[in-house]
Amino acid sequence: MSVSQLSPADAPSGGDRRKGSRVEILPKFIPTPERLSQYLEMNIQEVALSLQSVDGRRLLFNKLMEHEQDLRNIDPAFNPDFLNEQLELAGEVLRQKDRFLKDVKSPEKKGLFARAWEKMKSFGKGHPFVSAILLLALIAGGTALALYATGNLELAATKLGLGKVFGAADAAGEMMPPVPGSPLPPGAGELAVPPPAQPIPGAGGPI
């Protein structure tokens, strides 16, 4: 699904730039634990924990707003309300992820999931579409993909034969975020905070 296909309620706050008949989608500041940790010079575990509580999110929001002008420089459509919503959403999703990973690693289910992962790893030759779906979603979720424009990811999904699996549904629309996150800067951090020694590609930070 492209930005142009989103309903007004679904559409992110800005982020698209019309270019002829195509829509170039601009990265947004997504408050993942890794980015917040980097920008605010806080421990990543502390950030992840803060995201999961109301008081913690308020603290993060206030700290980010001390850098409002910097945030506006990297995202001209920056909106404090949208940031607040994103912080709340990040907290909710982190709690869900925490529950899922705890279930997967629980002693009573560890064996069951170990067999499930082994089975999924064996799908490669007989069912290559499974790898294709997971990898394409991973790539789309990574930051600042040069190909992140309307049509490109949909075309890649079609060329990979995913149309058959997704039927009438839009494969790219069911898997990929409408807006990429802002890239990790190569030099100083976006808020003039030095980046970590070894930035982790595609990482949103541990929980």
Binding site: E85, R99, F123, P128, A146, V165, M176
Partner: protein, 137 residues
Amino acid sequence: MNTLYLTGEEKKAFGALPAELQEGWEVVVEAVPSHDDIQHRSMRLHLVHLHDKKLMSIVERARTLTDVGTLVSLVSGSDLSDVNDADLAELCFAIGPIPLTRIIREFLSQAKDDSDIEGIQSLATVRHSLISAAFSA
């Protein structure tokens, strides 16, 4: 008996398979949400945390590509055979239950032997856990 968490529609498809493929499985009906809103899906993808060097390398290479054909080659030339379990869990959480449901439906339409049913069970087990995690308080 092994448990298979399937939707009502999947249960019907499973029931249409040859009897020998159904032997030994107990189907428990799963309610899969019909909609995954863009905001949650987007955030899940942004929160992926990788450990696997192979996957990190794929993402890094993909970032620099400017041609769809090269992206397709990169994806189709890669597989998950030696990816670590933790990263598979990350990927499954990121895509969520709806694409997994599409994959399960495809598997059911192609199932020919016990190995295929075990594949369906693997996917359905992961999906069940994802749904439980999303809806438990």
